[in-house]
């Protein structure tokens, strides 16, 4: 597996940290040392380790050491707030907490964990939801192999970290590069900072990965006006690109002879499930293409039968060695997992006559304003625990909350903004007399959307 074979790439650069190149051999030695250090800590044997991950060498070494020694690692973003971190600790009672380069022993009690379990990733980075996706070493290796089979990751290639380490897409870039013996420039700066671009030019970066929001920012920064002969391919995943952004990127890629990969995936499938062949981006940038090598996509109709014919909508299902072990919500869940035959993605799609898939909707209630994943049901639950009656709807630019008996909607908006780590301009809170319900007494989201639309046009009339 990629984390055991580091030394086989000997003198090639594995990563560049703070301007210094670290060879695979050197990285392998650092990992070995860290394995020893971790094994000296109680309890003996496998441990559950909670790591606040950064895009730095320290995180990379801990990550690889945990995999080599078969510990179980829970990765969270370093910016996760203290109270959310404490909630995770309470639920999972990890043995070790590693944060800001210091290792704290929290519990010496051995934990019963399924043999195949290796990694826990959050289903939503921002809300710090305790729900975790459980992945195995085999999941990580299978997905890295598939990615290396379709992306042109050469051992001479050099990428730059542009996404969080604890985010499945960001992590898949790390895994696939180590798998190919390529080089990762460990960068902490956002794309909007000068350091990022200095590093990008100085290191002659050959590929960049981004979610729709990153590409929107990169376009606004004017990347298409520049010519970087060293850049050979770019990738996009983590949500659907809007038509305008897609077109600008397609034109840019064509003009500069850059391969542009539009991809599709979920943490539940380790990361990647599908990609669109780059020669097709000109004609169908709104498509996710076909399953990655080793995977299989299929559509299921609402009555539960598989759909064989083209151009019919159904829920998208995926099968492959990268499908997660399952979900976990507390420590007790880590003991055993039942393998899934198929992963239900929660996305609606259809297949065209060429066999390419196109996402047509989402059956799960998830929105991504500014690229921040927000689960609408989680927001409702949160508000309900606060004693509110509220309904949430939204799209990839706005979260809309209708709430009953809320004295200060502005204060609530600020609170939601902090909790979700979402810019307040993407949140609307509206006071309503009662929560709309349909004839069956169920929450009526369509009626709510209608109400919000009316309220919006009323506001517009007033301001005009």
């Amino acid at each position: 597996m990629f984390f055991n074979q580091l030394a086989s790439f000997s003198g090639q650069p594995a990563c560049i940290a703070e301007g210094k190149a670290i060879s695979y051999q050197a990285l392998s030695s650092m990992v070995e040392e860290k394995v020893m250090q971790l094994s000296a800590l109680a309890p003996q044997g496998r441990k559950l380790i909670l790591l606040q991950a950064d895009n730095d060498l320290y995180t990379l070494v801990i990550y690889l050491a945990a995999l080599q020694a078969s510990h179980v690692l829970m990765l969270v973003e370093s910016k996760l707030s203290q109270d959310k971190l404490e909630q995770l600790i309470e639920r999972y009672q990890p043995n070790l907490l590693i944060t800001g380069q210091s290792i704290q022993c929290l519990s010496e009690k051995p934990i019963i964990m399924a043999e195949e379990l290796a990694l826990l990733l959050s289903t939503s980075g921002s809300t710090g939801s305790p729900k975790q996706v459980a992945l195995s070493q085999q999941n990580l290796q299978a997905n890295a192999d598939s990615i290396c089979a379709y992306l042109p990751i050469k051992s001479t290639g050099k990428t730059i970290t542009s996404l969080p380490f604890a985010y499945s897409y960001g992590l898949s870039v790390i895994n696939s590069h180590l798998n190919a013996g390529a080089c990762i420039v460990l960068n902490q700066a956002p794309v909007t900072a000068r350091e990022f671009w200095q590093c990008f030019e100085q290191e002659q970066i050959t590929s960049i990965a981004g979610v729709p929001h990153s590409w929107q920012m990169l376009l606004r920064l004017g990347i298409t006006k520049k010519n970087w002969p060293h850049l050979s391919y770019i990738t996009q995943a983590g949500g659907k690109l809007d038509t305008d952004t897609a077109k600008q990127l397609v034109d840019y890629a064509q003009a500069h002879n850059i391969l542009f990969y539009i991809m599709y995936g979920q943490t539940e499938a380790t990361a990647r499930m599908a990609y669109l062949s780059p020669e097709k981006v000109v004609t169908k940038a709104d498509s996710i293409g076909q399953a990655i090598p080793g995977g299989k996509l299929a559509l299921k109709s609402t009555d539960g039968g598989w759909i064989d014919k083209a151009n019919a909508e159904g829920e998208l299902y995926y099968q492959g060695q990268n499908v997660m072990l399952g979900y976990a919500e507390t420590q007790a869940n880590l003991a055993e997992f039942k393998p899934l035959e198929w992963l239900a993605t929660g996305d609606l799609a259809h297949r065209d006559n060429d066999g390419d898939f196109k996402i047509t909707g989402r059956s799960k209630r998830i929105i991504k304003p500014f690229g921040q994943r927000v689960n609408l049901d989680e927001v409702e639950q949160k508000l309900s625990t606060r004693g509110y009656q509220a309904l949430c709807v939204g799209n990839d630019s706005q979260l809309q909350v209708a709430i009953v008996d809320c004295e200060n909607t502005d204060a609530l908006k600020t609170e939601l903004s902090q909790w979700l780590q979402l810019h307040p301009s993407a949140i609307t809170v509206m006071q309503v007399d009662k929560v709309p319900v349909n004839a069956n007494g169920k929450r009526d989201y369509q009626q709510l959307a209608q109400m919000l639309k009316q309220a919006e046009s009323a506001v517009q009339e007033v301001t005009q």
Binding site: P190, T192, H423
Partner: protein, 80 residues
């Protein structure tokens, strides 16, 4: 409204922080509110408020409130 007031208002609304927090020394990434998303919202806000077009270098150099003033001055906005 003076240009200084306009600037303070733009920062306060883009970063969702109190107007008193907007001081020349306030720097990018020094508070959680000023992340890359807020930065891009800030750029749009400043462009609208002062009717200027900011280029790549302006955007990636805007590392503090003071620096923003410097950049806007370059575009003909006066903070006297």
């Amino acid at each position: 409204m003076s240009n200084q007031q306009k600037l303070v208002q733009s920062f306060s609304s883009a970063l969702a922080i109190a107007q008193e927090q907007v001081q020349d020394l306030l720097a990018y990434n020094s508070i959680p509110e000023w992340d890359s998303t807020a930065h891009m919202i800030l750029i749009a806000e400043l462009e609208g408020q002062f009717d200027v077009m900011l280029d790549t270098d302006d955007i990636i150099d805007m590392s503090s409130v003071g620096k923003a003033k410097e950049i806007l001055t370059k575009h003909g906005v006066s903070f006297e």
